[in-house]
């Protein structure tokens, strides 16, 4: 058993305080009765009420949700295909360009991605709206999905697929019945990552969104440019709460699975 030194405890305490205090303060002040966001004037949930009555926010949230669900789903399909191609197909014509196009969007500044897509949409005369945001989000998030899924595929035992072929599967059945169920956790994380990226994106959406398709981040952005507002604090609190619950649930599930796997392994040893 390792013991933490005083230095390590200090580093961790200060570090996590730095990471979490701003968000905690945001959450606390979302319950502030005062319109003046820096002065505490008692507990109130009035800003949540106002937020829920704000049609513009609700519309933006609805647009964002649609875009996120559609784009992350398409991105998961395309990204999984791309990962499978990159990991399993070896050399083929244009492979270098292909893998370059998978990795480049991960490091491309958002302003450039946004600008380039906008110029394309204008060039081909596509009206800006939900469709253009979906296309843009799918493009960059499929690259993230592909990275997540390919890191799982690399450690995937190819013999499993060969065993399926050996037992009479064609390639598609081998993927559907064996590979996909096994890599499913990575595919699901890829989808969640794509979903979050889409929910979060401000810069690219600013370029490719039309006037009728304002997303939540664009809406937040135009509000916070004018300074701190209690409604945004309330909205932030809701978003933080959703993410926190989601992440904690996910890690509890994975921990439970890990414990179960360990127990099974021990039981298997005893069965020897």
């Amino acid at each position: 058993m390792k013991r933490l030194s005083a230095f390590n405890i200090t580093a961790l305490t200060l570090g996590f305080a730095f990471l979490y205090l701003p968000m905690i303060l945001l959450v606390i002040y979302s319950f502030n009765a005062s319109k003046l966001v820096t002065v505490w004037a008692g507990f109130s949930t009035q800003w949540y009420g106002e937020l829920l009555r704000d049609e513009a926010f609700l519309d933006a949230a609805w647009v964002t949700l649609q875009v996120a669900v559609i784009s992350s789903t398409i991105a998961t399909v395309l990204g999984t295909m791309a990962a499978y191609v990159l990991v399993n197909f070896g050399r083929f014509f244009g492979r270098t360009l292909f893998s370059g196009m998978i990795y480049a969007p991960l490091v491309m500044p958002e302003v450039i991605t946004g600008l380039s897509l906008l110029l394309l949409f204008i060039g081909i005369g596509l009206d800006r709206g939900i469709l253009t945001i979906v296309l843009a989000h799918t493009t960059f998030s499929m690259c993230y999905v592909s990275v997540v899924v390919s890191s799982r595929l690399i450690s995937f035992d190819r013999a499993l697929e060969e065993a399926a072929l050996d037992l009479g599967c064609n390639r598609f059945d081998a993927f559907r019945l064996v590979t996909l169920p096994i890599i499913a956790p990575a595919v699901i994380s890829g989808w969640l990552l794509a979903f979050t990226l889409s929910l979060d994106d401000l810069v690219i959406a600013s370029f490719v969104a039309g006037p009728s398709s304002t997303t939540l981040p664009i809406k937040i952005w135009s509000a916070v440019r004018l300074g701190v507002t209690p409604e945004i604090n309330a909205l932030s609190t809701i978003m933080i709460a959703v993410v926190t619950v989601g992440v904690i649930t996910a890690s509890l599930i994975s921990k439970r699975n890990a414990v179960a796997a360990q127990r099974d392994a021990q039981a298997a040893e005893r069965a020897e």
């Binding site: 390792k2 961790l12 701003p22 292909f98 897509l117």
Partner: protein, 291 residues
């Protein structure tokens, strides 16, 4: 053929929505501004010959004549470099502390580092506005304690930008360093101490070199996005904060000068190619070392 389709679909998607758009940016950067829709000339409607003839490097010359751009590139580099270094200073001790923490804490600590990553980037930057403003919580605290008599101006300065970058990109620094430290065999430190190292020299001679790949990866993961950052300088920085992502955004939306904005983008990418290639090398080296 199924195999062909499997390659072709994602390939075609990326060609159409990644490569071609980028080629368009390149083309527009060589065009001239025009009062038209789209606001540049020539376009494909003018015919291919006229299109080729109409392209020139004028916008790039313009970027060299107006020192706004020159300064913006330099100041972006400076801000990105310095904030990467600051992130390392904050992140390394945390990653080290996590790697030394008892086994049963690690999953929780890991989750605590990853959680902000899933939380909206915009909201996390916004959280600092209420803290750093003149009447913000930090100034209130400092005034109350009595450290200062006048509120400090932090919001709308470069200092706020540094804080914002360190804050938002901290997980990217911690995770690769933690991964490297976690893989390290503890008996190496014991061996170094057994051979006569003090704790500190053992740290310098063994721990730091062995986490080098994690440090390098973390630095690139912070530096590359910080260089093109737009939200943080716009929200936390002041009018004096020059960062190229912000300049590009404003050039495009406020001045509607698409060709110049495209030229700014092309140069930004050229600057980014160096760290990206270096980063790729580091990752490859690491992958080979693991095999």
């Amino acid at each position: 053929m199924r195999k062909f389709a499997l390659i072709a679909v994602p390939y075609a998607w990326l060609l159409a929505l990644f490569l071609i758009p980028f080629l368009i940016v390149f083309k527009v950067s060589l065009s001239d501004t025009a009062l038209a829709i789209p606001p540049y000339t020539p376009t494909l409607k003018d015919g291919f010959g006229a299109l080729i003839d109409g392209l020139d490097l004028e916008n790039f010359w313009f970027l060299t004549t107006d020192d706004l751009y020159y300064k913006a590139y330099l100041s972006s580099l400076q801000i990105a470099l310095l904030s990467t270094f600051l992130t390392l200073l904050v992140g390394y001790p945390m990653a080290y502390g996590m790697a030394r923490a008892p086994e049963e804490w690690r999953a929780t600590l890991m989750m605590l580092v990853i959680l902000p990553f899933w939380t909206s980037f915009l909201i996390r930057v916004y959280a600092w506005v209420g803290i750093l403003s003149n009447e913000g919580l930090l100034n209130q605290l400092l005034l109350w304690v009595g450290v200062i008599n006048e509120p400090l101006t932090i919001l709308n300065t470069n200092t706020a930008v540094y804080i914002g970058i360190v804050y938002t990109y901290l997980p990217f620094m911690i995770l690769p360093i933690y991964a490297a430290l976690d893989r390290m065999d503890d008996s190496l430190i014991e061996a170094a101490e057994d051979l006569g190292c003090s704790r500190l020299t053992a740290f310098w001679l063994v721990t730091v070199p062995l986490s080098k790949n994690g440090i390098v990866a973390g630095c690139f993961l912070v530096f590359i996005p910080a260089l093109g950052e737009f939200v943080i300088p716009s929200l936390l920085g002041g009018s004096g904060t020059l960062m190229i992502g912000k300049v590009l955004f404003e050039e495009f939306f406020n001045n509607r000068d698409w060709p110049v904005a495209s030229a700014v983008a092309v140069i930004l990418l050229l600057i980014l190619i160096v760290p990206i290639v270096l980063f790729q090398r580091n990752q490859q080296k690491q992958a080979e070392a693991e095999q």
